[in-house]
């Protein structure tokens, strides 16, 4: 092998070497440094138990959830090019995506991706339970996972309103009516009647949790804007942070679970 190919030549350039600080990952040293030296890969350990690699054991659901989350972020950002969260434009913009925006299929990918993420989160949880992986030392991480599950559902739920069609507002109307029944905090819930001094009503349809959620007494334009902000900024940020915590703890709690 005296002859040097172009590939070899490229590998010897300063540029290449400055980017990849290791040789081809075919031996132990390089395999270790490729994982440790890459910002994207280093959330993995360098080595892990064989069971942690097996699809039959992990079902890869956690990884897929994260990946779908990334895919949703990308498609979601692109959709923001064409979507305006106002009562005037929201519906027409969705029609635009359907009718004439090039590759408006982005919306389908986003919507089905959102459903897929709910499914993968559930199945991830199912697997974790079946393998008893929530047991010590991973109790806390299970708790983080439960919060992530709820946030995933909220992400999907807030996104459901954005097309601003009948399906959307009535699904949100049904959903938000439950908030109305929150004990003590919703005006239709038990105990709401107690929060009243004379004609000063502390929990009514214009100051209860549902009102806070919708920014009004009905699902209207303020709710659309609110849900849009929650959907695009607030919840994704929280989810992102919690995902980091979740991954960190997976590593710190001993990697992908396995029999003790």
């Amino acid at each position: 092998m005296a002859k040097k190919g172009v590939a070899d030549y490229i590998r010897e350039t300063q540029v290449w070497k400055s980017i990849f600080r290791h040789g081809p990952p075919t031996d132990a040293r390089n395999r270790a440094s490729v994982v440790a030296g890459n910002v994207f890969l280093h959330l993995h350990p360098i080595k892990l138990k064989r069971s942690g690699v097996q699809l039959g054991y992990t079902w890869c659901m956690g990884g897929l959830t994260f990946f779908i989350f990334l895919a949703l972020t990308v498609t979601g950002l692109l959709l923001m090019f064409y979507y305006r969260p106002t009562a005037e434009y929201a519906y027409n913009d969705i029609i635009a995506l359907k009718e004439h925006v090039p590759l408006g299929i982005m919306r389908e990918i986003h919507r089905w991706g959102a459903h897929a993420m709910v499914i993968t989160v559930w199945l991830h949880m199912f697997r974790v339970f079946m393998t008893g992986s929530y047991k010590p030392p991973r109790e806390f991480n299970w708790g983080v996972g439960v919060v992530l599950l709820i946030l995933t559902l909220l992400l999907s739920f807030t996104g459901y309103l954005l097309p601003w069609d009948q399906l959307a507002i009535w699904a949100i109307a049904v959903g938000s009516n439950m908030a109305k029944a929150t004990p003590f905090m919703g005006h239709g819930g038990p105990g709401a009647a107690l929060a009243q001094i004379g004609d000063f009503v502390m929990v009514s349809d214009k100051n209860d949790v549902r009102f806070q959620l919708l920014g009004g007494r009905f699902v209207g334009e303020p709710a659309l804007l609110r849900f849009y902000i929650l959907h695009c900024v607030f919840i994704p940020l929280v989810v992102g942070v919690l995902i980091a915590v979740h991954f960190w703890r997976v590593r710190k709690d001993g990697g992908i679970s396995a029999p003790l």
Binding site: K47, V53, I68, A116, T182, G220
Partner: protein
């Protein structure tokens, strides 16, 4: 035949049926968790599903784009449940023989390189999921209905599919229970699992034998009370949230006889033949007493039982009471369902004056 299936699909019948099937499944998981059984079940199920799909009404409901995730989840859960049982059965057999679970064999304990093993497989999973999403997006277009109209509600008005279990609960409970308390119990209960379940066994491998209580409870809540109710809410509830069999056309004018009576009305009028008391607490006294018994007395009593003593011995008092409280919360749903179907019972406690109905 189709009429019989329609008839059986009504939650009144299908819910107990599901419960029985669930019990059978957990009891005979050793038989179910074999490849032979899987092949057999597939051989039986495939023609049945094909036959189901030949029906226009059935196809219409399952092919509705927003219902596709539920089809997917049904398939995945069916398969993964079997697969878990299969792994459990395998492990439990080994454990009975005194061997370690498969996951704990030295071979599987051996450490392997993340690069390329894990990274590569993850990449392929990602590619797979992208392909899946793209094809899904091409084949099924996202629904878009009429523009939002606050003055006219579509019939049925459904929440997103993952909340349809909760919406189904609304049939049996008031919104504050179905929409707030029960979901709250689910979330708290889920978070509490690691702290209640102190059984050290079954950590990191599939097994039922070594952690039967946890398995039986979780699987019931997950498969029957959550997934099954979502399926009912999606496929079997039509206009006016009326029950429609899988082969039934969603006729808007379908009328169902449904007249429910409160427990207090049963007590005062039917049993005691008395007028309803003016004092609302007195009126609902039976319901209140029963609820107090359910929430406060039952845990204490159960703690005295042999079963309770055993758990307390393992976990301690506090854990036990939290556990029993969550368990009661979970079982309140099937209890209320059965009461509704058997006695047309509306509310155990009916205090609309305080927006407090149970």
């Amino acid at each position: 035949m189709k009429e019989f299936i329609n008839y059986m699909a009504d939650p009144i019948r299908s819910f107990p049926l599901m419960t029985i099937m669930y019990i059978l499944m957990m009891k005979y998981y050793r038989i179910i968790g074999t490849k032979k059984f899987a092949v057999g079940a597939l051989a039986v199920l495939l023609p049945i599903v094909t036959w189901f799909c030949l029906d226009d009404n059935f196809r219409a409901i399952i092919m509705w784009p927003d219902n596709i995730p539920i089809n997917i989840i049904i398939i995945l859960i069916g398969w993964l449940t079997w697969y878990s049982l299969y792994r459990c059965a395998q492990n439990d057999e080994r454990i009975e023989r005194g061997e370690c679970p498969i996951e704990a064999t030295p071979e599987n304990r051996e450490k392997v390189w993340t690069w390329p093993n894990l990274v590569y497989t993850e990449l392929m999973c990602m590619i797979g999921v992208v392909v899946f999403l793209v094809v899904w997006a091409i084949v099924f277009k996202a629904p878009l209905e009429e523009p939002a109209n606050p003055t006219w509600a579509p019939n049925p008005a459904k929440a997103p599919w993952y909340f349809l279990g909760l919406q189904e609960m609304l049939v049996y409970f008031d919104p504050w229970m179905a929409g707030v308390v029960l979901p709250g119990i689910i979330v708290v209960g889920l978070m509490a699992i690691p702290y209640i379940d102190t059984n050290p066994k079954g950590n990191g491998y599939f097994t039922i034998k070594e952690r039967p209580l946890a398995m039986w409870m979780f699987m019931y809540g997950w498969l029957v009370l959550w997934i099954y109710l979502i399926i009912v809410g999606t496929f079997l509830r039509g206009p006016n949230w009326t029950f429609y069999g899988p082969f039934e056309f969603w006729d808007f004018h379908k009328v169902v006889s449904e007249y429910n009576v409160n427990l207090s009305e049963f007590m005062w009028i039917k049993w005691l033949n008395m007028p309803m008391p003016q004092n609302i607490v007195v009126r609902e006294i039976l319901g209140i007493i029963l609820t107090v018994i359910y929430v406060c007395v039952l845990p204490v009593l159960s703690a005295k039982s042999k079963w309770g003593q055993k758990i307390i011995a393992n976990t301690g008092q506090i854990r036990y009471y939290i556990f029993i409280f969550l368990l009661l919360g979970m079982t309140s749903l099937p209890i209320k369902m059965v009461l509704r179907w058997l006695f047309s019972l509306k509310y155990i406690i009916a205090l609309p004056e305080w927006e407090l109905n149970l």
